[in-house]
Symmetry: C3
Subunit: 132 residues, 3 copies
Amino acid sequence: MVTLSVSTSNRVESQDITHLISQEISSNNWDDGILTIYCPHTTGAITINESADPDVVKDMTMEMNNIVPFDDGYLHSEGNSAAHIKSSLIGCSETVIVENGNTVLGTWQGVYFAEFDGPRTRKVLLKFVNNK
Amino acid sequence: MVTLSVSTSNRVESQDITHLISQEISSNNWDDGILTIYCPHTTGAITINESADPDVVKDMTMEMNNIVPFDDGYLHSEGNSAAHIKSSLIGCSETVIVENGNTVLGTWQGVYFAEFDGPRTRKVLLKFVNNK
Amino acid sequence: MVTLSVSTSNRVESQDITHLISQEISSNNWDDGILTIYCPHTTGAITINESADPDVVKDMTMEMNNIVPFDDGYLHSEGNSAAHIKSSLIGCSETVIVENGNTVLGTWQGVYFAEFDGPRTRKVLLKFVNNK
């Protein structure tokens, strides 16, 4: 298992971590199998979306804040229930295919750490399973 | 494959199943790899979120009911379309990392069965794949 | 890795691809393990839901369009931000269990390609990992 570190700068944002994942695949000689990308935090998530136009993740941030309001009569005393709910909606892991020593992503896809209660320093866990 | 049984008590609720998963990892000697946690029902889901404060899943239940209203002019004659839609939003499986004979969860994370059309007796399937 | 082709007919729809997956499991002699079903597009997704009554996915389409409006002051100049956001909410992959040469789905479950910016011709990637 490999642990990545991600530092976020805003309360809600998505940060492209594709290059960090590619580096680990290369340096660990992961060749053919599947890679689980896991967020061990309950107010963050992992998502895969367009990496070409940065406006896409800005729109996602705006709309997630519309769908799950920051304040809505929540019970949880820490005041970050919206972040927990967004985490479950997006999901705390993604599985990507690895072939020939690289991720098989679509042309426009990047892997993102989605921050919903930042800014914070976060961990992302990578676990590769071989296809033998 | 291992089958867990979960009995829910409310129409919409999330039930912590982390201890059931840990027991199966231990008794099956699953040591190092990834574990797929799968809900074979179309009105339930699997999610990972905070297990420390029970108010977090209560807030999630309330907000999911706000996001997807029970009645909204749905066509499906069984009257539980909201439950089906919530299932797809949260997702029917999660993949967790297993190392040294236990799940690698974050400090505050627990694995939950999310019930959206209860109360019912439900199944959760576990499939472990070794990292060899 | 196997690549499926899916042709969609509407702007937003969900298309049952369970039979295509079963055919590949059979013809590739995938017997026991887990199968990652992956959408390499940023305006589509993979979901598992009821395949018995086609009204369920119609209700899902309608409600997803309510939750994420087509127009909502988005920045992305291509005009399809709603499709990108829906893709992240549903998620671009699912993992299913394979035993005895078939998927272990629930009685009412089918695997769907969810189109959010069609009609288009789409790819779905399948990667099987053995349980050895």
